[in-house]
Each structure stands twice: as structure tokens, then as C-alpha cells.
């Protein structure tokens, strides 16, 4: 267990190194001169040369990477060309709404997926299963932004229950915060619900046929307790493995949802920075998001080994 934990922790290093190279290369893929692109067509050659020096673009590629990487290691992601603010502080300022969105949508996701999966397994051989399969298939086939648009039409315009845009920080009142963020979080969650619920259902159906379920029934344990204590708990373990993919989906989705609902999170900052050609910010955010993803997957893997005693005590 300890061995595995250490190995798993160390495995983050090569991955983050590759991630850094990719992020670095993204900007250097830019056709033409980045300084020229940033400053625009009618800038003077002197200004371009100045910016090139400032960004270190006049040096060899590997030197540039080394300089950039040694800064990144210390938490310095560079400076925004647009606002002259440090990228790290920009991300910190904008992370609150994104975190709120992800946290609440995870709660909604589990609050829907778990009961749905349990219900499906408990009421096997009913019409519920094909309906569920169709709905979850529909869920992964629907563009998030389109679904969001329809929901805005429904609950923001036709029945004006929720605001269609904007964000209120949690500190300024939980009510207002929830009111603004509920609809966006719901959209973000609903697309991923099918994946989790399906995985949970499949694992539960696998578990239902195991011998230990027969043992529990033969003991005279109540059917409801068999389902919850044995079938459900055992199915949770394999289900954690798809959580990583879900987090990726949520992170990608925040970019769209934040843009659509004008929520000032890092997703919207990313899109805005792309339009402003503010490459240091783009680079910083993409690296940050990949970092979160790697970190969450690390947690999920460690959680998995913790949940499964067969691995924990090896």
C-alpha cells in the first residue's frame, strides 16, 4: 500500500513534465511572430523587438523552455500582456466561481446518479432500464451549450425562476450564490450523470450475481440491506475509476457554461484571453487545469486503493 502510494505519487512527475512541454509548445506553435500577433499589425518594429526581448522570444527554444519551466516550478506563471497582472493572481481571483460550479455540480451529479442507479437495480426487469439507457445515451449526445440554452429559455425566460447570467460570490450571501449558480451547475452535471449512473448500475448488476450476495440472502438479511450494504457498497469501488473522466468533462464544460452564463471563472478568463491573444494567461490556465486534472486523478487512484481492502492490505 505504502509502496504503491509512493510509486503513484512519483508517477505524477513525468506526466507533469510532458504536460509542461505541451503547454509550452502550444504557444510556440503560433504561426508567425507572437509579439507581432499580440501587438497587432500597426505596431512599430522597435515595440515588437522590445516585447520579444521581454518575452524571451529571441532565445533558443530549449532555453526559453528552461527559463519558463524554472519559473513555473516556483509558482510564477508569468504576467498578463493585457492587464499586466501576474497570471497566478489572475487564476486565484477567478478560481472561486469555477470551484463553486464544479463542487455544486459534483453534488448534483451524485445526488441524481446514485439514487437512479439503485432504483434501476432494485426494480430490475422493468421498463425503467431501457428508459434510463436511452436518457443516458441522450445525455452524452447533447451539446452542453445547447442544453443550457434550452434550460435558459425554460427557467430563465418562460418561467423566470433563475437569473440567466451573472455570479454572486458565496461570501455575499449563500442564497444569492445558490440562486445564480444552480442552473449552470445543473447543466454541467446533467451531461455527466449518465456516465456515472451507468457505470454504477453495471457494477451493481455484476455484484448482484456474486456468491456473497447469495450468502447474505441465505443469512436472512433484509433485501433492502442486501442491496445497500453489499451490492451498492461493492459497486462504489469500481465506479470511482470513472470519476477522473467525469472531472475532465466538468473542467471542459466549465469553459462553455461560464461563457454562456457570464460567470467570471477561469473558463471565461481562458476564452477572453484567447480572444485578446493574451498567451501567458492562456498558457497558465491550461497548465493549471491540467494540474487539477492530474491531481484529482491521483486522489481518485489513492481513494480506490483505500476503499478496496484487497489492495489496502497487500
Amino acid at each position: 500500500m505504502l509502496n504503491y502510494t509512493i510509486r503513484r505519487l512519483l508517477s505524477v512527475i513525468p506526466v507533469m513534465l510532458v504536460v509542461s512541454v505541451i503547454v509550452f509548445m502550444i504557444v510556440h506553435l503560433t504561426p508567425g511572430n507572437p509579439a507581432f500577433l499580440i501587438l497587432g499589425e500597426d505596431s512599430s518594429p522597435e515595440a515588437i523587438a522590445d516585447l520579444e526581448r521581454e518575452l524571451g522570444l529571441d532565445q533558443a527554444l530549449y532555453v526559453q523552455f528552461f527559463n519558463w519551466f524554472s519559473q513555473v516550478i516556483t509558482g510564477d506563471l508569468g504576467t498578463s500582456v493585457y492587464s499586466s497582472q501576474s497570471v497566478t493572481s489572475l487564476i486565484a481571483e477567478n478560481f472561486g466561481p469555477t470551484f463553486s460550479l464544479m463542487a455544486l455540480s459534483t453534488v448534483i451529479l451524485l445526488a441524481i446518479a446514485i439514487p437512479v442507479a439503485i432504483l434501476i437495480v432494485a426494480l430490475r426487469k422493468t421498463v425503467l432500464d431501457p428508459i434510463f439507457t436511452s436518457v443516458s445515451l441522450f445525455g452524452v449526445s447533447v451539446p452542453e451549450f445547447w442544453l443550457a440554452t434550452l434550460l435558459v429559455l425554460g427557467f430563465g425566460v418562460a418561467l423566470p425562476i433563475f437569473p440567466v447570467a451573472g455570479y454572486v460570490p458565496f461570501a455575499e450571501g449563500a442564497d444569492a450564490w445558490l440562486h445564480h449558480i444552480l442552473l449552470p451547475s445543473f447543466v454541467l452535471a446533467i451531461v455527466e450523470v449518465g456516465i456515472i449512473a451507468r457505470m454504477l448500475r453495471d457494477s451493481m448488476l455484476d455484484s448482484v450475481n456474486q456468491d456473497y450476495i447469495k450468502t447474505a440472502r441465505a443469512k436472512g438479511v433484509k433485501e433492502r440491506e442486501v442491496l445497500m450494504r453489499h451490492v451498492f457498497v461493492n459497486a462504489l469501488i469500481p465506479t470511482t475509476t470513472v470519476l477522473g473522466a467525469t472531472v475532465a468533462g466538468l473542467l471542459g464544460g466549465t469553459v462553455i457554461i461560464e461563457t454562456l452564463f457570464t460567470i467570471p471563472g477561469i473558463g471565461q478568463l481562458l476564452v477572453d484571453s484567447i480572444h485578446r491573444r493574451d498567451y501567458p494567461v492562456v498558457q497558465g490556465i491550461v497548465l493549471f487545469i491540467a494540474g487539477i486534472y492530474v491531481f484529482v486523478n491521483l486522489l481518485v487512484d489513492l481513494l480506490y486503493t483505500f476503499l478496496d481492502p484487497r489492495i489496502r492490505y497487500d
Binding site: 502550444i26 449526445s141 447533447v142 486534472y293
Partner: protein
């Protein structure tokens, strides 16, 4: 039986969309580019089935024509990701020496949510169709590489591969003759899913304003333009969106169906309870 029926249904849906897009110019009621300012944002009617947009253009015609770009991008991305992913996956699964390095690189790519990676790449490369295809391919090939690698590892341990190795066949021959044919089913299933995801991702990029040139009708571009008018002309958003849903749904249905057909044992096990 059920899966076969759904496979056919999904295939039929896809063919209808593709055929409609290819033959569009010969039967469309309106030119997708024909502007008529007096007909701005009119709702669905006998003449304009899906209504008109902010330039008075026929949304039905534009939705059909947009399928060309969206489907082409999807197909090309699916094919390229499959080819690149399969080559890398085969090498990685077959030659253990390069496996570690290749897989760390793939892990690095997989650390980015596909949409974020594509978004950053398009931002850097610029929003032409070619660049979008490159960006989406880079976003989706790592998944294929992983799938192919694990399939190759399974096949590699089979005795017929060992037998072929002892008779002195070259690695290239073994891979082409014995490994590749045995990993085709997961590859086909996965490429169907990539096709579906690429269509969704292309639409999302266009919607975020970094996609295909806004003057080209694509489903994503249409939805992006429709966004401003969503309260006064909801049909403008609804129909192109439905086109995406139908196409992607058909692809996902096909992928699921193919997976069940290739894996009848597993599919059955999931549906039937074990006999005592």
C-alpha cells in the same frame, strides 16, 4: 437481436443525414446564402420549415448544408485519430522498450480535458478548418492509443503470437497479420465514439468563437449566431441543435451497438441474471 436492430437504425439515421448533406444543392428549397432582409427571424412556416435567421436566410437549408462541414470534420478527425492512435498503441503495446516513454507522453496529453486542449491549440494555430482538424486530432488520438495498447497487450500473450515469433516472422509481419486483425473491434467502436465527440467539440469551438470561420455555415456557428436572438427567435437555436443531437445520438447508438455485437458474451452477462 435488439442490438442488431439498433445498429441498423443508427446506420440508417447517419446515412440519411450524410445523403441529405451531399445531395443538398440539387433539392434544397432555398440557397443557404440567399439573404432576404424583409424575412428576418420569421418562425417556422410552410415555406421556411425551420424559420429564418437574422439575415432572412432559410434555417432548414443552412442546417442541411452545415452538416457537410460538421460531418467532414468529424470523419477526418475520427480517421486521423484512429490511424495515429493505432500506430502509437501498437508500437507501445508490442515493443515493451518504448512503452514507458510513449505512455508517459500519452498520459501527458490525456491530462488535458479534450475541449481545453483543442481550444488552446486552435487559439495558437488559428481557426481554419485544417487547424481545427489538427487540434481535435491531437485531443482525441491519445484515447485511441490507450485502447489499442491494452488490446495489443492482451493479444500479444496469445500462443499464436508466440508461435509466429518462434518461426522467425518479422515483427512487422506479426503485427500486420496477427495483432492488427485481432484488435480491430475495439478500434472500430472507439473511432465511432471519437467521431461523435469530434462533432460535439467542433460545435463547442465554433460556439466559443474560435472555430470555423463564422461565414461558413456549421452547426456550431449557427448556434453561436442564434445565441443573441434566443429569446425572440428560439427556433434559430433549436433546429441546428437538434441536428447535432440526432447525428451524435446515432453515432453513440452505433458505437454501443457495435460494442455489444463484438462482445456478445459481456453484453448478455449484463442483462441476464446468472442461473442457479
Amino acid at each position: 437481436m435488439f442490438t442488431k436492430k439498433t445498429n441498423l437504425l443508427a446506420l440508417a439515421m447517419l446515412l440519411i443525414v450524410a445523403l441529405a448533406a451531399i445531395t443538398a444543392s440539387s433539392w434544397l428549397p432555398f440557397s443557404p446564402a440567399a439573404i432576404s432582409p424583409e424575412q428576418r427571424l420569421t418562425g417556422p412556416s410552410g415555406a421556411h420549415w425551420f424559420g429564418t435567421d437574422d439575415f432572412g436566410r432559410d434555417i432548414f437549408s443552412r442546417t442541411i448544408v452545415a452538416a457537410r462541414v460538421s460531418l467532414s470534420v468529424g470523419v477526418i478527425v475520427a480517421v486521423l485519430s484512429t490511424v495515429i492512435g493505432t500506430v502509437i498503441g501498437l508500437i507501445s503495446g508490442y515493443f515493451r522498450k518504448v512503452d514507458f516513454v510513449l505512455m508517459r507522453i500519452i498520459d501527458g496529453f490525456l491530462a488535458f480535458p479534450a475541449l481545453i486542449l483543442a481550444l488552446a491549440l486552435v487559439a495558437a494555430l488559428g481557426g481554419s478548418i485544417t487547424n481545427i482538424i489538427i487540434a481535435l486530432t491531437l485531443a482525441f488520438f491519445p484515447v485511441m492509443a490507450r485502447v489499442v495498447r491494452s488490446a495489443t497487450l492482451q493479444v500479444k500473450n496469445q500462443s499464436y503470437i508466440e508461435a509466429a515469433q518462434t518461426t522467425g516472422s518479422s515483427h512487422a509481419v506479426i503485427i500486420a497479420k496477427y495483432v492488427l486483425p485481432n484488435i480491430l473491434s475495439p478500434v472500430i467502436v472507439q473511432s465511432t465514439f471519437i467521431f461523435a465527440k469530434a462533432i460535439l467539440a467542433e460545435a463547442a469551438l465554433s460556439f466559443l468563437g474560435v472555430g470555423v470561420n463564422p461565414s461558413t455555415p456549421t452547426w456550431g456557428n449557427m448556434l453561436q449566431e442564434a445565441q443573441i436572438y434566443v429569446t425572440i427567435a428560439p427556433w434559430y437555436s433549436i433546429f441546428p441543435g437538434l441536428a447535432i443531437v440526432i447525428t451524435v445520438l446515432a453515432l453513440n447508438l452505433l458505437g454501443d451497438g457495435l460494442r455489444d455485437s463484438f462482445n456478445p458474451h459481456q453484453a448478455k452477462r449484463k442483462r441476464k441474471t446468472k442461473l442457479a
